[in-house]
Amino acid sequence: MWADLAVIGIKLAVVLGVLLTTVPIMVWVERRGSALIQDRLGPNRVGPMGLFQPVVDAVKLMTKENLIPENVDRFLYLLAPIIALIVALSTFIAVPFGFDSGLELFGQKIHGFIVAPDLNIGVLYIFAIASLAVYSIVLAGWSSNNKYSLYGGIRASAQSISYELAMTVSVVGVLMAAGSLQLQNVVTAQSGTWLGFLPRWGILVQPLGAITFIIAAFAETNRLPFDLPEAEAELVAGYHTEYSSMKFAAFFMSEYIHMVTSSALITIFFFGGWQLPWITLPGGWPGALLSIGIFGAKVAFFLWFFVWIRWTLPRFRFDQLMALGWKVMIPVAILNFLWVGVAMALHWI
């Protein structure tokens, strides 16, 4: 009982700690990365290479005046950032980030480092919680009593519904190939080789699904080129125009935490999770730690990919966004679904 709770507590503490530490690091990567891409210097005054800039930013946000504008719907206005953070932080408990061959801690099995290992609906849980993220944006937009915020909220609700469809349909192929909804089984199903030499990764077996999922992940995290809910060129700051200090920070943090979750999901669904192609990891603790390192490296790459895309592509127009979502993404995702079905029936994969 107590050992059980202790193991869960340690897992939770590690997951929360890593997630919340990634946010300031990603803010630094984003600012320095954008400077690199745009041939500027970026923040370089605080600490070596500006590394302590996020710390200063955090202090600034915490000490700012906690402003609540008049004529806002106070209850919903304060609820929105809370929902944003809760949703962002609770998706991660079904994500496996390492491999173990029955390792134990305090006499308890650690089950591949997942916080909730017995969740037999793993993927559905993540989609269920992640689909609630839009409420924070919509409520923030509506309660602020500001037309720009309202436009941001309306855009967010339409965008989220459109791209959620493409996202879930593109994952169906992966789940069919794995025959399970649990993420650790999705990863182990991608071990070994395909056609003799290729690693059996989702990106190679079902490239269409991988591409649609990655694009939909950008839309679901509201990152450029899909950041229309905040589109600063048109809507001031969109749904969080009226938010300042830590309430703004909550939205800001949740966006980066969603990026971490999305990168982890891309890695798990289409890039073999913690596995390396053609190499079998050793057992015991060395293998476990190595697998966490591999997973972390892949996630870090996709986090950089998010930054890279943001500072490379311009923003879509709203009609382009909707046309892409409904006329391209969903048909392509269904095509991937058909391909996996046919290939599985003919034993190609």
Binding site: L76, N120, Y125, F127, A128, S131, V134, L139, S157
Partner: protein, 166 residues
Amino acid sequence: MLSWIFLTASVFAVLFALVAVAHRSPIINVLSLVMMFFCMAVVFALIGMDFLAAVQIIVYSGAVLVLFLFVIMLLNLKKAEGLGKGGRPLQFALGAIAAIAAGTGLVVAASRLDSTFGASLPGSEAGTAFPIGEALVGSHLFAFEFISFLLVAAIIGAIYLSRREA
């Protein structure tokens, strides 16, 4: 233990359902409906129907009610006027009495529930995606496909009706 979680979830489900109907702000209505679906998901998860619980949240909270919010915001609906504010003391008193009676009935029912609750639950396999998937594309394949056909017809009808003016 199980029955108390069940009782809490059901009481909150009823309360949120009441707020969803009675509150004057449309946004609060939708939000309480979201919370109501959460309580229903808790009840589903409690009887081992994990898959239904997740689908409940994905479909209703994640998609249908977001559409509701979208419509409310697009039409910019304000609070309903002339409803519920003061007046009508008799109706209010009758409603309160009915609510208290229903609550008491629930507690009494729950106290009898304790000994037998959970005795007739299906096995843990019944709540996963496998039996539901098998039923959908196995024994109920015709009904499943027929419903999807009906839905397509409904969508086409909706598009036709909304476009007739243009």
